[in-house]
């Protein structure tokens, strides 16, 4: 039900023309489109109704994001949904009551900043107490749609251990915060965000400064990891459909190229990759919703989905011949986007490491 109405809405409101406009245009997100998403309750999908949200489950999120991926929906929907969860779990009551309804209502857009810019002798991002507030210095990179967002949820290290990490909420308009657009071949609107002694109120820390909230931060990020799996499954599913349609209609040697065994086997390989990606994403989503500390299944899903969906998209473009690599054709939009998402959150390598740790300790 959610899927059918989501699909119908997105087919109408988000043709690929809009995706192309966002890629080449100034704005990272058509404001009118975001408002419509808010009317459907999607930015506030995981926010409880008492705070103005939809009160949805992780599996609801998986379904919605599969459909969003299917049309390459631009904008930080995943980041806003997950950012809201971060605020919900660890923000003060006052912060929650102030911010969550605005996020659900579409007035406040949130993005996530996890990776620190690697420059010179390594990355740094420091948050220190400053009077009755906090002071932030450093630089985050690959922050999606930062220019469209009012808030950024940033991870930061509180110590040297792997669990010594916490979350900070910063307003994009804060003095000392600057955005630098990056240019990625994925077509995603990514930014480097520099924090030059940015002052934020104490309550902007989601959690306490001295506390490490490793487990909490991990849980929040895993929502994003699963959300992106769902998105990739949806996107790969659509470009796979395009490829199957194409090989059925394109004729060479007097017959559709779908009649050739080598083409058939490539399609079969894509179908298997995609089906497994669906299974593993749905399982991870279900598990995460029921057991919030689940992590192994999430990494298993991400490790598979990254590679499988990229294989599917690559193969789908390839089967179109040169058409698959021309600007005009739509298949390449899917390939570039999926390549971008597959590289985020540490990529396959990171998640394989997590899987290995789960096996070997």
């Amino acid at each position: 039900m959610i899927r059918a109405s989501a699909r119908e809405f997105l087919a109408r409101e988000c043709p690929l023309k809009i995706v192309r406009q966002v890629e080449t245009g100034r704005d990272s997100l058509p404001a009118a489109l975001w408002k419509k998403l808010a009317n459907l309750g999607w930015p506030g999908l995981l926010i409880p109704e008492e705070y103005g949200g939809s009160g949805g489950t992780v599996l609801d999120m998986v379904v919605v994001l599969e459909e969003a991926g299917r049309v390459l929906l631009p904008g930080p929907l995943i980041q806003t949904v997950v950012g809201a969860v971060a605020i919900l779990w660890s923000g003060s009551e006052d912060l929650k009551r102030r911010l969550l309804p605005k996020i659900a209502g579409g007035e406040s857009i949130v993005t996530l900043a996890v990776m620190e810019t690697e420059a010179g002798g390594g990355a740094y991002f420091r948050v220190v107490r400053d009077g009755n507030g906090l002071r932030v210095t450093g630089s985050k990179i690959f922050v999606p749609d930062a220019a469209a967002a009012q808030y950024i949820v940033c991870t930061f290290k509180t110590g040297d251990g792997p669990d010594d990490v916490n979350l900070l909420l910063v307003e994009t308009g804060a003095p000392g915060l600057t955005l630098r657009p990056l240019k990625a071949i994925s077509g995603a609107r990514l930014y480097e965000v520099a924090f030059n002694d940015v002052r934020v109120p104490a309550e902007s820390m989601l959690g306490k400064l001295e506390d490490s909230w490793g487990s909490g931060v991990g849980r929040v990020l895993r929502y994003a990891v699963v959300a992106e799996c769902a998105w990739m499954v949806g996107a790969a599913g659509r470009v796979f459909e395009m490829a199957v349609e194409y090989v059925k209609t394109r004729s060479q040697y007097g017959r559709p190229i779908a009649a050739f065994q080598s083409v058939q086997h490539q399609c079969a390989d894509m179908a298997v990759d995609l089906r497994a990606a669906e299974y593993v994403t749905h399982y991870a989503g279900w598990k995460l919703g029921k057991y919030p500390d689940s992590s192994w299944e999430v990494s298993v899903a991400r490790a598979w989905v990254n590679d499988a969906c990229l294989r599917v998209a690559s193969r789908a473009c390839y089967l179109h011949g040169a058409l698959g690599y021309s600007e005009e054709h739509d298949a390449q939009l899917y390939l570039r986007r999926i390549a971008g998402v597959a590289s985020a959150f540490g990529g396959t390598r990171h998640h394989l490491e997590m899987v290995a740790r789960g096996l070997l300790g």
Binding site: K183, S262, Y318, A322, R336, A339, G340
Partner: protein, 368 residues
Amino acid sequence: MWRVGTSRYEEEVATPGEEAFYRSFQRKLGAKGLLSTWWPVEYGGRGHSKIESAILREELAYYGAPGLFGPTYELFVPMMLAFGTEEQKRRFLPPLARGEWIFCQGFSEPDAGSDLASLKSRAVEKEDGYVLDGHKVWVSAARICDWGFFLFRTDEKATRHRGLSMFLVELSAPGITRKTVNDYAGLPAWQEIFFDGVRVPKENLLGGKNNGWQVAMYALNHERSGLVWLGTCRRALDRLVTYVKERKTLAEDSSIREKLAALAVEVETARLACYYVASMQDRGVIPVHEASMAKILTCHSSIHLAEAGLEIMGEYGLLDTGSPRAPFDGGVARTYLSYPMWVLGGGSLEIQKEVIARLGLGLPKLSD
């Protein structure tokens, strides 16, 4: 070796500044005799062997040097030397040795890609020449080219590959219209070329009437050794190694070490296959399935290198030329975008496998 910065292959030349640089660099290579090293000396060659020329080719590609455009120097020149009349050789080869003209290749049509022999563009013989009508697509780098060589059907009654002829056409000829088609990196990689009553003199027919297929296949086999892409692969591998060496955690990660080692093995194997093809050419033996094998090995190398670049560099590997923080000025991202077009051009992997299976191993054709 001179450094030329970011690779700008012919298909990527987008601005007038880039085109000016391309042309001037090509002429510099020409002035040094480096565009014609293996040609017979009477046409501007230096009498170098194919292997020596291959070494030069690979190194130029490694440094991203423009100038030795594949269709001109790896397709047109061999075809001309093998099938051209003395007049044709004297007319076309010296300017190419100097780097004055660029030739593009126009074979594919909207309904004739892998099945090239089904092409429909026609050439009708007249008293003073031929009249060409038709439509060619995916003509690489045609935007900056002066001339092209094209397959047209000269015998409507002959089936498939039997009635085809190779024509040399100056792209400024009346009746030709061109439409630039961008690739998915937004670069003007191809053109569609429309022929509407284009007249060419008989002197522009290469290799004899209805012999075009032989001429084309000779050229494609010559091109398939893939040294350009091999040079690019080696550069991609060296960049990855440099990147990893600079980061201790990566350099000590056994999965990365294993991956780089596997990539190096693939590149070395592909390199030997390419040079074997060059050695065959030096011995006067025409490579067929050996060329297809070299192409497959080079393609696999480039596919795996492009993917490894993304995997190891993560999101940094996707940053494009001109982006802040782009490693190697976007070289990794550019390679990732361009390798599929090399895999498809000159015959997809599936076509190469057909050549090996049928012509190399003698396996039977799938019966209709």
